[in-house]
Symmetry: C2
Subunit: 194 residues, 2 copies
């Protein structure tokens, strides 16, 4: 129980953590810098010592999200290197988007996309995508590098679309048993199978 000190000591990461925690039960729109500061026990303006503005904080949070996602992809290594692993990646992505929908929304929202203002973010995203491309190549899709990229884009799109639509309640009028699973979607999706 350390007393309240003037200097927080690790305000930067504390703010990122607090924001991510707040994101668990709030929409990103309802997020405020002030709330995060309050959470950490610091004045409303203290964050500006560590982040240029609110977007910069969100970008850091988003980058953390991409790192988490990348790790989740890597954790599916136990599934071997075939199509099964792609399905596992789909499940992992869906799990992530279901558990932290607000974070996903921040990660992909238009807010942070303006130019390369947040370099670490782009890099973290690229890395997650690269992991997926690698899995596609190793799954023996038999195509060129470009075709692997196209298939990766496709798989990312299906799963991302499905998970976010579901998280936002867009399939609310359908019974749960009517919905495909992420594995189904990955399985149905095959480049050039038509």
């Amino acid at each position: 129980m350390d007393q309240k000190r003037y200097h927080h000591g690790g305000l930067r990461v504390a703010l990122i953590d607090a924001t991510r925690r707040l994101l668990l039960d709030r929409d990103p729109e309802a997020l405020s810098l002030r709330q995060a500061a309050r959470e950490v026990g610091v004045s409303a303006n203290a964050p500006y010592r560590h982040f240029a503005d609110k977007d910069a904080l969100l970008a850091s949070v988003a980058a953390e999200g991409f790192k988490t996602l990348t790790e989740a992809f890597r954790a599916t290594n136990g599934e071997g290197a075939g199509r099964k692993r792609l399905e596992a990646i789909g499940e992992a992505y869906n799990e992530f988007a279901t558990t932290e929908p607000g974070l996903v929304r921040v990660m992909f929202g238009p807010r942070l996309r303006a130019a390369a203002r947040h370099p670490g973010l782009d890099e973290a995203e690229r890395e997650a995508f690269a992991e997926l491309v690698r899995a596609v190549e190793e799954s023996g899709n038999g195509g060129s590098a470009e075709e692997a990229i196209r298939e990766a884009v496709g798989i990312w799109s299906v799963i991302h679309g499905f998970a976010t639509l579901r998280a936002d309640g867009a399939f609310g009028f359908l019974d749960r048993w009517m919905l495909p699973t992420p594995s189904d979607l990955v399985r149905y999706f095959r480049r050039g199978s038509s």
Copy 2:
């Protein structure tokens, strides 16, 4: 050039139109009720005569969006009833999401999803989805009604995921020619083809 009158005459639809127009070059987060009111030339509080709150206005705007989408689906009838039409629907959806990304974000955002607070919205969405399901059935997928729904969910997911990711710049690090087209994605996606 009618003078400024006390009664606007059609404030409700004027606000919906103005909001949709504002959405063309603003993120939904940057939207304000006050701005919409200003646009229409009315005081900041006038909207409350027609909408319970900001969300109610956004819900009406979103419902309009779903109607537009439904019409776009229907307009692909010229493509016949086969897989080609499904591809055309994919292109139409992508076109819509590319032209009005802010609107799409409002339509699917979590903000309006809280319960059945906006009944017209749910209905408009259901109708758009039903149109897609019908197209899947007519495309001769040969499955049961439930399988048609599952395939429709899949197609909706790929296209929605792809279009929104693209609109938000998530594929910014990939060259354009590396990306699949919406038609490609629909073609690659076939229930039970594996």
